[in-house]
Symmetry: C2
Subunit: 342 residues, 2 copies
């Protein structure tokens, strides 16, 4: 598996990206990493983190799409950007996957344009794993690729989530819930009502409507929603987790006795930090494109980057895209057969 | 101020509702509480919590809208429900406010139907306060009254949030953000793009687009969104807070040394529990109706109920509804004047 990594994307780029890439190459014996970006910036870091695998190389790209840039405009205007070059490498067949912790919109636009969508899939969506209270994960799709989807796009997300969860998390026949404002079938706006009917008729393992709270309960494997709602959800979840942990941290610094108590609990807090931290999952995946595109968090550390490269390797090894195409084909031929026999 | 309280609504009703009502009457010398529901259930509790103010009375209602019931259908079919009777008391001028910790949809439907909307306001919305990292609050409206609003409904929410925050939290000229998937003006779906233009032209203290994370940063006083997104947001925030605190609790029970450490920190944890707990705010408010309707959380305890009654008293004392009508009138006459002069 060859992965083109946007070395310039993310709050701590290029340092943590190069470090994560070197670590991934060491841990994944069949993975080749192409670090894309400004060679003079990347080269000294690659020496510093001393890659000995010979499977990490640099591909120069002169400019960078920054976090605040308008994605499509920046891709056009700036010319040779690191994320744009990653996508070109994939298009040219020189990379099987791309990875960026930079501007999400730019990564989505570049990947979708260069790779195209999978056969039978109408729109790509971003799948993001959330930790659950039962120690597992719940994958939410879409967290921001498509803010105005149609019901059939959400059905495609259900297919993609099913195959992603089955392959990457090893869950047989994963359950998929539809995010709504209540559990009853008749709830919600027009989009979810129409989507509900599509899912009911679909033969996916449909868990019915679920509410925002259910994502964290561990009772459903995947949750489907439109990209506007999903993006708000993702950022609210991050905001609440930060606020709760920050408030606890401040409260425990107030008195000496609390600081002593917190000191005794430090290993537990440290482990928790790891569990709640998104770095364990490496990032979100843009599913539905004819290739692999991982979108890491802007705050990704080197561990998150190397985990993201590991996930890309698994997506490739387990042929998730082939499975998505096959399931979409089966679903559609079933629906057609039923329409004909009806 | 006379408030009709749905004594049968909520996970711990009628016990905590009666307890909260008695406490509120003791603390608020001008407030009269009418406990609405099954007299044989309420009477013994009222004796147990020994009201000595003489300002708590019972109004019998034979049936209850349960949490799982379809709101409008249940209100019709069940006849004399506790929440329906609360709304009737308000309609008849026998109560200035109503309060329920039961089925939210039923409370919204009953209140909107019986009280009607305020002059100049097109749709009511539910405003919910969220604690921020800076120790303040951010009010989000709408968290579920209207899952398919138009841009002008969201503008009305902005007016309502402004006057609510100014009156209840004492913030002069509160800032109002529009919930979106990014800070740039051009982001989002059609609804938020059109709403953005309305807010820009409005003379409200518009903070522009905000993201889900910003709600908890304390940089904006109120956030406006559609009821579908707001309801998901509310439940995700609750789910994450529960999951984080639950995970911490479990981790701190694992070893004796952690339990000792956690024991030293107990007063800090207890205070935090209070800060993060929604009971401090009493509940959400249905704003935009010609009256006062407080919707408490299903898990409300007696403290949450008495706080909700206190908030209802403040909404009444500070004439929030008059202020909303006045601001809506000014905004519309300004817009008309500008249209004429243009």
């Amino acid at each position: 598996m060859r992965i083109a990594v946007d070395a310039m994307g993310g709050d701590h780029a290029p340092r943590v990206v190069v470090e994560g890439a070197v670590r991934a190459a060491r841990e994944l014996p069949t993975t080749e990493v192409i670090l894309v970006g400004r060679t003079p910036k990347i080269e000294p870091l690659l020496r510093e983190f001393s890659d000995r695998t010979g499977r990490v190389r640099i591909e120069h790209a002169a400019s960078v799409v920054h976090m605040g840039d308008s994605p499509v405009e920046a891709l056009r205007r700036k010319g040779d950007t690191s994320i744009g070059r990653c996508a070109e490498l994939a298009k040219a067949g020189e990379a099987d996957a791309i990875l960026s912790a930079g501007n999400t919109g730019a990564a989505v636009a570049a990947a979708a344009l260069a790779m195209g969508t999978l056969k039978g899939i109408r729109k790509p969506g971003i799948a993001a794993p959330f930790p659950t209270m039962t120690g597992g994960q719940c994958v939410v799709i879409d967290v921001g690729a498509n803010v105005k989807p149609k019901p059939e796009h959400l059905l495609d997300y259900g297919i993609m989530a099913t195959e992603y969860v089955a392959a990457i998390l090893g869950t047989p026949n994963p359950s998929v819930g539809l995010l709504n404002v209540g559990a009853e079938d008749a709830k919600g706006n027009e989009l979810v009502k129409e989507t509900h009917a599509l899912f009911r008729a679909s033969h996916l393992n449909f868990a019915g409507n679920v509410e925002g709270r259910d994502i964290f309960k561990g009772e459903v494997d995947a949750v489907v929603c439109d990209g506007f709602v999903g993006n708000v959800l993702l950022k609210v979840a991050e905001g609440v987790a930060e606020a709760v942990l920050g408030t606890i941290r401040n409260a425990l610094m107030e008195k000496l006795i609390y600081r002593i108590g917190a000191g005794l609990c430090r290993p537990a807090f440290r482990r928790l930090g790891g569990e709640l931290n998104s770095s364990a999952y490496g990032g979100a995946q843009l599913l539905g494109i004819n290739g692999i595109c991982i979108i890491s968090h802007g705050s990704a550390d080197s561990k998150a980057i190397s985990n993201a490269i590991r996930v890309a390797t698994e997506l490739s090894d387990k042929h998730v895209n082939d499975r998505i195409v096959e399931t979409a084909r089966k679903l559609k031929s079933k629906t057609q057969a039923e329409t004909v026999s009806a």
